[in-house]
Homo-oligomer: 557 residues x 2
């Protein structure tokens, strides 16, 4: 009877770990009312996005349908879920709902981007219910690596959808709500059409470990270490900050938090009433007067980020403090794939100073915030969905999770970014594919990933840049000589002559031979000059540079 | 009585895995006769060396003492040991000694670089002995991940030095000589002053596994796989190529080798008589006609290199072949730290096609070529050196290895690149530090790592490039308007006006206000203009670009 349908469309996060943005729709085809779950960022890298500050999902599809969008729901305060709220809110202009801690972080994002923080509305966990058009949405607590992480139950006339959020099956997570199988079973009991489920750790076949298993090894480390201990972890991992601080405190060490993100996170967690019984901390100023063996610094920079506290300590002094032989540096963290080189640089710098560097290779000092395969299976069993849609993972993880679900008797489908899937029936059906992609925050402004700007930068980084200027008079005749400037290239050719002079000579020769037609035609002239530059440069130094040509034509006034 | 001394100086490889280059000297201070062991390369990356083709040790110190250099010794044919021989030989111009397989590869390097391959001289293993000034050098076979890997015994009047080369304690390495504890003990028996020892896997506390353990799992994979199997490993790992090919052959699969390095390595190994009983192979052309389930491709690109066969298959078709759902891709390899992102890209592309991707995470399909800690300890015990100098490792590994050696009763010292250590006495003594560093092969020419060329490229990659041209007449007055060209930046400012126009306006204003002194002074003018460009760009789009200014002054003829 009803022609209404329930659709799902990931605009980010499906095929990557990062920039999560999941759209749900319900209503007649093309007139569905919509909600967006999460609006996160991805981090840039020098190989594919040099100079870019943040990567975000391209929301054009949603922006064009803004009148149908009811709300933005944020599951938790990690950057890949909340990071783009400030920068992209003005494109959507609907209320943002989140639980208290997450909402506080989201408001800071709005403020940073010059948006109104009042657009972010705090919602309590279930049974508190948001009525959003045809959707009834409840937040349910899950254990994760930061406080107040949540999944969401989305009830629609076509049935119940459960979005797991990022979760782990940890019954003793330290800070934040424990994994609660009873509650999850309760959610499943009323019948669930679709479970959208975290896929990050589907490849890991071991049962996950609890945050609580770290207490003893970290306490021992704080007692046994000879000199200063410096520990890094994600600033948002408030439970870990507490585990580290308590262990240090009990071992007679003063605790000093360093790095902007660390201070911001602990401040917000304190304001939200989450960070209770945290040991007293001292300022970096005060830390300078504490004997090294009585000190723990907790610093930012677990991923080797160049501007974070850890990298600054690796280079020398940070806020008046520095590391020495006999000190210990602890990575209470994992290295996100792709950051190995940056982390390695920090590790090696410390090793050169004689600092003992400890990481999680013996599995003593870190646990993941994501459910491993056995815990995912337990989640499937608790929620008992008709269909399972893997989210939050690279393609390989999504495929593995879908395979797993099918083997366990569920309907499943890999739904990559941009795929519109109809969830109304007994199995997911691909009904459309929409254009999606990435946009970059570059400095203070947005640019498109595909508009050639970053491509030009990469070309300059690989090939160097040759810049050619020449002046033509009213009769298209060369006035003076052409000039070539080179940046990022060897200044001399194979014979030792300056490369720019060699290029200039070849350009002059080319121009002397060029016909009147070429000289009058900007495009032709540019092409010809560019070809000459690339040919000469290849011949002289074996490089094909990026070439920019500026032809100035003097006109009669 | 004698004032002669035995010195050791790493120019590369100590503090990094890559570009090995170890100098030994014997004689009166400042007049030591020298030998160089290994001359390898390191690979570049986009973050720190974009566009660079290869990274090599800076040999200036050795070049200035070329008259004292007896020879270059190459332990084995991996790129980080032999890769720079062709490009840097002309700086040293002494004979290059290596065993047969290594010598063949070294000759190809010489040829590629336009040098005389006859400078490479083949040497047999011990007891064959090279007399090089005060040095008597013997090659001894070690097990590693390619054929004819060797350590060297260097006998000097001050005692015996043993350089382990890259080794693993594998008694069944498949192809190549097995680990031979008897022989090593024999070397140690006559008394060893110093062991320079591979440190790559010192962090790994498990005993190493043999190449032979891979035979069964790989054979099973070849039998069980439904579709085509494509496997990648280092081309030089000839034992692995054989393990893969034999397993496939026995499972009724035809074997096709793909990728330039793969063909080159197997050809050299065949010519050297090392690759015996290799199953017949077919051409890519012929492979097209073989049913998928009867085919194994062995391809280059285990590190996700963009131009290698694996990455091309990930993007689509390579030599007429492509991957499909149901096929299997096997990484019979490990990912070198820093390459995770590139490998991840390939893995995800295959996953998207529905290809099953297998790697070594279950430790079934790859073993390392380097000795783990227990095997290093066994090596110490066999050689029984007075002192142990860790080589071939990042700082962290060198420190760990030195700590281990000291705990086990040896003298030890971390000797980083550029440190000159006197080995004559009972313990190593730091006697000098020399300037060392890296040089880059960039296209067809060498550039210095520190000469600013690559720094400029990185700056353009991060900040974009603004190029300003202006013309001044004979009286230092502006002729026409200043032009600004932007590359790698958002073309419009915050108000939507073209960025280059905004810059040009600000430049014109600046020039109209500039005094005659500034206008006459190129440096002052450049500084002022650069500051204006960076200020405006920061204000408009939040970026600080690289700026190049060209001021053309028209002169009276």
């Amino acid at each position: 009877m009803s022609k209404d349908r329930l659709i799902y469309l990931p605009l980010g996060g499906a095929g990557e770990v990062g920039m999560n943005a999941y759209v749900f729709g319900y209503g007649p085809k093309g007139r569905e009312r919509l909600i967006l779950v999460d609006l996160g960022v991805t981090f840039s890298d020098m190989a594919s996005s040099p100079g870019v500050d943040l990567i975000m999902p391209d929301l054009r599809w949603l922006e064009e349908r803004r009148d149908r969008l009811e709300a933005i729901i944020i599951t938790h305060a990690h950057e890949d879920h909340v990071g783009a709220v400030g920068q992209l809110w003005h494109k959507l202009r609907v209320p943002v709902y989140a639980r208290d801690f997450t909402a506080r972080i989201a408001r800071l994002k709005m403020q940073d981007a010059g948006q109104d923080p009042e657009q972010v509305i705090t919602v309590g966990k279930a049974p508190e219910t948001l009525e959003l058009g045809p959707f009834r949405v409840q937040f349910f607590p899950v254990a994760h690596s930061l406080p107040e992480a949540s999944g969401v139950v989305i009830d629609t006339p076509a049935g119940r959808v459960v979005h797991s959020g990022d979760f782990k099956a940890d019954r003793t997570p330290g800070v934040g709500e424990p994994h609660d199988p009873e509650m999850l079973a309760q959610i499943g009991r009323s019948g669930v059409k679709a479970l959208l489920c975290d896929s990050t750790n589907v490849m890991n076949t071991h049962a996950g470990r609890s945050e609580a298993t770290l207490t003893a090894p970290i306490a021992q480390l704080m007692r046994d270490a000879r000199g200063m201990v410096v520990a890094t972890t994600f600033a948002s991992n408030v439970a870990r900050l507490k585990t580290l601080a308590v262990a240090a405190h009990e071992a007679g060490r003063s605790v000093c938090l360093m790095g902007r993100a660390m201070l911001r996170m602990t401040q917000v967690a304190t304001e939200a009433g989450i960070l209770k019984d945290f040991p007293p901390t001292i300022s970096p100023e005060a830390a300078k007067d504490v004997p090294r063996e009585k000190l723990l610094l907790i610093v930012t920079g677990s991923q080797g980020e160049g501007r974070a506290a850890s990298a600054q300590l690796a280079r020398g002094t940070y806020m008046g403090l520095n590391m020495k032989e006999g000190d210990t540096f602890l990575f209470s963290s994992m290295t996100i794939p792709g950051n190995e080189r940056e982390v390695g640089r920090v590790v090696n710098a410390f090793a050169r100073m004689g600092v003992d560097v400890l990481d999680n290779s013996a599995r003593l000092y870190h646990v993941s915030g994501h459910a491993n395969r056995p815990d995912l299976e337990a989640m499937h069993d608790l929620i008992q969905p008709q269909m399972l849609i893997p989210v939050h993972g690279e393609h390989r993880m999504l495929h593995e999770h879908a395979k797993l679900a099918i083997a366990r008797g569920m309907q499943s489908m890999v739904v990559p970014n941009g795929a519109v899937v109809d969830l109304t029936g007994a199995a997911p059906v691909l009904v459309d594919e929409v254009e999606t992609g990435r946009v970059y925050l570059d400095g203070s402004r947005m640019i498109g990933a595909m508009d050639g700007i970053v491509r030009d930068r990469i070309r300059m980084a690989i090939g160097g840049h040759v810049f050619v200027t020449l002046i033509l008079d009213e009769d298209d005749e060369l006035l003076g000589d052409p000039w070539a400037e080179i940046v990022g290239l060897r200044p001399t050719g194979k014979g030792g002559q300056p490369l720019n002079e060699i290029i200039e000579e070849e350009l002059a020769q080319y121009l002397s031979r060029a016909g009147a037609k070429t000289m009058a035609d900007d495009d032709k002239l540019n092409d010809g000059l560019r070809r000459v530059v690339r040919q000469v440069t290849m011949e002289e130094i074996g490089k094909k540079p990026e070439v920019t040509i500026v032809v100035s034509r003097l006109m009669n006034d």
